[in-house]
């Protein structure tokens, strides 16, 4: 549990979190526009900002009470800064060693040093002075260093923004698996909705130095005015589990069901090259952009889309500025899938609440966890 109420004044900018409390387990994403105070709040929560005051408790520990704060170095946190903040007088190995040397005896768990170095992809850089690294290389070293501190809590400020897509997805997987395997609660700042949807258990929304709301990922993605929905528009995140890979390279994603009964629906997913080896039966998330979902009145024939899922229209909302219509589709297992259509389509098809239709989702448009 993370709870408290932090204040900080920096020149004209005032951070005032208000009372907050959220589960510390899993990944908590801080989300908000540039300048909304994400980095400031994260620093205040880490204890790096000496001016901050208020209350902060991490599980049973008091981290801050009034102006009195537990020193950062006793909080067992790993921090990845927005700029990598490598020690300039050391080479890459020296930066990693700095973290490794200071791990207390009782916190040696987690993946081996070697494994982290390899998976972050910096083994060829170990002897490099840090001044000679490219932007992306610096950021990877910073991530490795934070993981190597064996933290009880990981704080990351836009760790992936300097990276190319391949490094991004590799590191997302790494971060995901490390924090899942070793149960490291994580506070994570990102501007990329895709990172939120892949990692987050909950989202702390910020604006103007204040926490505007704290929502579970599900709640955050089930309202069409969610700040998470950006140029890609509304997104549904469906929970389910993975099946086997069939000979065509497709993977079944099945709705969550009472054990024993049949799956209410199945999505066929493409195995993408950068994903984890799938464990059949593993829990997974499916990210579906509303604009990638089409609606058919009848099950269509002679069409390449494999995923034709029966659903009932539960709601239709218009996004005023764009005239786009968001159709809420209730699936058989109770989860909601959003479809974004033009007004013309909604009228032409005569869609109405309560109607049963087929949601068409292109296989290849699905992302796996």
């Amino acid at each position: 549990m993370f709870q408290g109420n932090l204040q900080l004044k920096l020149g004209n900018f005032a951070l005032d979190s208000g009372e907050f409390a959220f589960e510390s387990s899993g990944v908590t994403v801080l989300f908000g526009r540039s300048g909304s105070g994400k980095s400031t709040l994260l620093r205040a929560m880490s204890g790096l900002d000496k001016q901050s005051h208020g209350e902060l408790r991490f599980n049973d520990e008091v981290w801050q009470s009034g102006k009195k704060a537990l020193p950062v170095e006793q909080r067992d946190i790993g921090f990845v800064f927005q700029t990598a903040a490598l020690l300039p007088n050391k080479n890459v190995q020296g930066n990693l060693d700095f973290a490794i040397k200071r791990i207390p005896k009782h916190r040696q768990h987690g993946p081996s040093t070697q494994e982290i170095i390899e998976r972050v992809g910096i083994s060829h850089l170990l002897n490099r002075p840090v001044d000679n690294l490219s932007g992306g290389e610096r950021q990877r070293v910073a991530i490795a260093r934070a993981l190597l501190t064996r933290p009880r809590l990981l704080m990351m400020d836009e760790p992936l923004s300097a990276l190319d897509w391949r490094a991004k997805s590799e590191l997302l997987l790494l971060i995901e698996s490390v924090i899942a395997d070793y149960q490291i609660p994580t506070l994570y700042i990102t501007h990329a909705p895709i990172e939120v949807e892949r990692l987050a258990n909950r989202v702390v929304f910020m604006a103007d130095g204040k926490i505007t709301s704290i929502e579970s990922l599900g709640d955050a993605t089930s309202r069409i005015d969610s700040p998470l929905f950006t140029e890609e528009g509304p997104v549904s995140v469906l929970h389910g589990q993975l099946g086997d890979i069939d000979p065509d390279g497709l993977i079944a994603f099945q709705s969550r069901q009472q054990p024993g009964s049949d799956s209410a629906f199945t999505f066929w997913l493409n195995r993408t090259e950068h994903s984890n080896p799938h464990a059949s039966g593993a829990q997974a998330r499916l990210r579906v952009l509303a604009r990638d979902v089409a609606i058919a009145l009848h099950r269509p024939e002679g069409i390449s889309m494999l995923n034709q899922i029966p659903a009932t229209i539960s709601q239709i909302e218009a996004e005023p500025p764009t005239q786009r219509q968001v159709v809420f589709l209730a699936l058989a297992d109770g989860q909601t899938l959003l479809a974004e259509l033009s007004r013309r389509s909604v009228q032409r098809l005569g869609l109405a609440i309560g109607q049963t239709v087929f949601a068409l989702v292109k296989t290849a448009a699905l992302l796996d966890r």
Binding site: E73, P88, M155
Partner: protein, 230 residues
Amino acid sequence: MQILGYPLDVGPILLTLEVATITSIVLLLIGTPIAWWLANMRSRARIFFEALVALPLVLPPTVLGFYLIIALNPDGTLAQFLKYFGITGQLTFNKTGLIIGSVVYSLPFTVQPIMAAFEALPTQIVDAARTMRASFFDRFFTVIVPLARQGFLVGVVLTFAHTVGEFGVVLMVGGNIEGMTRTVSIAIFDHVESLEYTEAHILSILMLIFSMLVLIFVYGLNRRLQIKTG
């Protein structure tokens, strides 16, 4: 020892190097915390203390030395005060005096450059060290000192070189006792005073060469450290 047929007393040379080395070390130990304290001071009074640190330079060395021997005299308040703590013994006319004098006079040379380096520290890097569990002393020695290295270098070089050449203060507080407190600078001065110019030249050149070697060693070491660590 003889050089060019002139007798050369190595005692003052060794004494000078010893005093300069000890002074540099003592000043590192005293000056570093002062520099840190000043660099992190937020109050307006800081300007006042910054100026205060530079003050020993403003008095002519012999005059400063004169005030020092008044302050340090065996019957003086300071000596009486130290006696309460069981610290007795002469403070002037011996190596202790030389070092006290040099330390007081060279204080600004150590404090000012180190303070400037502390001010230029990149806070985020020090923050990063904190998140890696480095306590204050830990990060001070492993992160802050290396980052402020150029400041320390300038401080030490100025202090060392200046102590070697120090004359006025050392003369007063040390008492120019042959074999005990006669440093090279005093010896050279004596030669000039007594019109023994050749001896003065030889000693000056020796001192220049020697100091040059020490400084080249210090700068070379610095370069090495720089290359080794990044």
